[in-house]
Symmetry: C2
Subunit: 171 residues, 2 copies
């Protein structure tokens, strides 16, 4: 699908009101990310809009009325502090109404570029839900490999206890 | 070695001054845990003495003059929030001068018991330094398995870039 009209950029604190509907819709499904599906807005803000070295990104495009709308968001952080801070970790959310349009891929590519630019040497995920086929296919196609799977580490609302993949790629 | 005189208990904020010398000595070696070896005391305190559901433990024993001395500390936290908070994560530190005395094993057993008591169903480590033979042997003997290894994820002061093991066991 055409994602040429999609704009990827670093977010500021002012973007939070436009990020929150995406965050809420993704987290409330409880299928792709561990945060409590009932997380309230102030808590979500403190979880997502972290200070440097964390960085938050938004994917935005015009809606039918021509208004700019945030349809996805990503967060880039060091996976470990200090002696492990050369490996990044990232989280991604795409509004369900915009799923399947290539937004996740565009965000993934953008955040990999940003991670390289910021000096990270690799990227690691710790909690890729093993039933999230779309995410696993995306990250595999972007060069990630499954390092291992922590069994029964995620309480899926439909599938019960499922594993969390650790995934990794060098940059 | 005899660890019968060792006392394991949950720490309170008042224990920090006695924990800090252990924390500093372990972290400044840069061989077993990722925090910046030069971490200052207030930062260390905020990193270690976290609020519930995190719990901190101390291992203490009498020194030659009969004074109670903290020789080890551990921290127990949920590995993931929300839908992943049934899996614990833990960190352990033993003062180098007290190494080899079985303190790590006693602390490990204690924290596994505490994790069970608090309702966790498994324990996961994300950053076991692959050159830390003593820790790997200890955790393996306590029922942990290596799930996978993130390559070159830790800057070791003597060995250069080494991997970080993800380890796991059910409770």
């Amino acid at each position: 699908m055409d994602t040429s009209a999609l704009r990827l950029r670093t977010a500021t604190a002012d973007d939070w009101p436009a990020i929150w509907p995406v965050w809420q819709r993704v987290v409330e499904t409880g299928e792709t990310i561990a945060w409590d599906p009932a997380t309230d807005e102030p808590t979500a803000r403190s979880l997502w809009m972290a200070r440097p070295p964390a960085a938050v990104f938004v994917a935005e495009r015009a809606d039918r009325a021509g208004r700019t709308q945030v349809v996805g968001t990503a967060k880039l952080v060091p996976d470990q502090p200090g002696l492990g801070d050369h490996v990044a970790n990232a989280s991604f959310m795409v509004h369900p109404d915009a799923a399947g349009a290539g937004i996740g891929r565009r965000m993934g590519e953008h955040v990999l570029d940003e991670a390289r630019r910021r000096g990270y040497r690799a990227m690691r995920f710790n909690a890729v839900v093993e039933t999230n086929d779309r995410a696993i296919a995306l990250w595999t196609s972007l060069g990630f490999a499954i390092v291992g799977t922590v069994p029964e580490a995620f309480r899926h609302p439909r599938h019960g206890l499922v594993g969390l993949h650790v995934m990794h790629r060098t940059l």
